[in-house]
Point group: C2
Chain length 212, copies 2
Amino acid sequence: MTSDFTLYYAPDTCALAVIITLRDAGASYDLHRLDFTKADQQSAAYLKVNPKGRVPALRTPVGMLTEVPAILVYLAQAFPAARLAPLDDPFAFAKMQAFNCYLASTLHVAHAHRMRGHRWADEESSFADMRRKVPQAVGACYDLIERDLLEGPWVMGEPYTVADPYLFTLAQWLEEDGVDPAAFPRVMDHRARVAERASVKRAIAEEWDAQG
Amino acid sequence: MTSDFTLYYAPDTCALAVIITLRDAGASYDLHRLDFTKADQQSAAYLKVNPKGRVPALRTPVGMLTEVPAILVYLAQAFPAARLAPLDDPFAFAKMQAFNCYLASTLHVAHAHRMRGHRWADEESSFADMRRKVPQAVGACYDLIERDLLEGPWVMGEPYTVADPYLFTLAQWLEEDGVDPAAFPRVMDHRARVAERASVKRAIAEEWDAQG
């Protein structure tokens, strides 16, 4: 049996949002797991799949896609019956896109300074400085999400959209980033609500079971 | 006369991509200029407009929008006759979105470490380290764009899309970031091609003329 999609991913990365969305969409897919401890994402074979050397990358029937916000919207458009985005309302669609872009370019970037400081600096002292700042920088993002962006019960209000698994996925790292969950009750309530979904439980189990 | 849109912006920021796209779309708009030297973007008045304290923010007839990739796609959808995005081809649309997301979350972030290191660290020594790394980190992004992402003559190939003013806008900073333009002939060719467009010349003039 051949699946329509193949997702190149690693466990405990933002790729989880894509696995959840593949399940929510009802897509047929295979998972191709990369081992970051072996630097699989920088191997010659993987760089042919995705020259960015990052995950996730989604092989679709018509070509490869990268960047989580783009992949999530693509799946929502490819499986309209699953109703995973406000496709018929350009303003609501733009609000959802703005939320996803904020996660990608501000929250995820703030988080990445804890373990991937080498992208932006060279000295150990700079990495230590960045790590010390992560609780504040990531916390400021959650403060904005808590106060202004998360409408509730889902990110966009009543309809569940692809913004929900994306926030859920990044919010897995909140405690590791040194952010106090008690300061963000609405974010934590959202995280718990998403965690109860069957598609999410299965995606998390699968994330760790799949082989490369 | 009342315009449909108001753009909150500052000169020499990524907001230029939105001004160009407002012109390309044929939208009626006003510009509201912020003065970063006076920290206008952190004023109480502006934080009511955009709690993120950043630019751009676009006031639309139905509400405020932020995040450049989301705003650009919104304008392309709101003005379909201008044909600024492949709206009828989900895969091509996703490729364009992936390009815009890469600019926002990787290239722009790499650039921001030259002047905005305080977002992610506290020590002067870290800021200096980050500044030293900018030519390499930004250069790596242009390397990927040059080799893999920029199809030519426009970003997406034959059709001009909102990805073009966005790349053009960020590429304004290439020399200031210490990147050697001679290493990226295709990027520089693209920059020159976009610069010749009438909408772009007018947007750049207007960017510096508008008052707050």
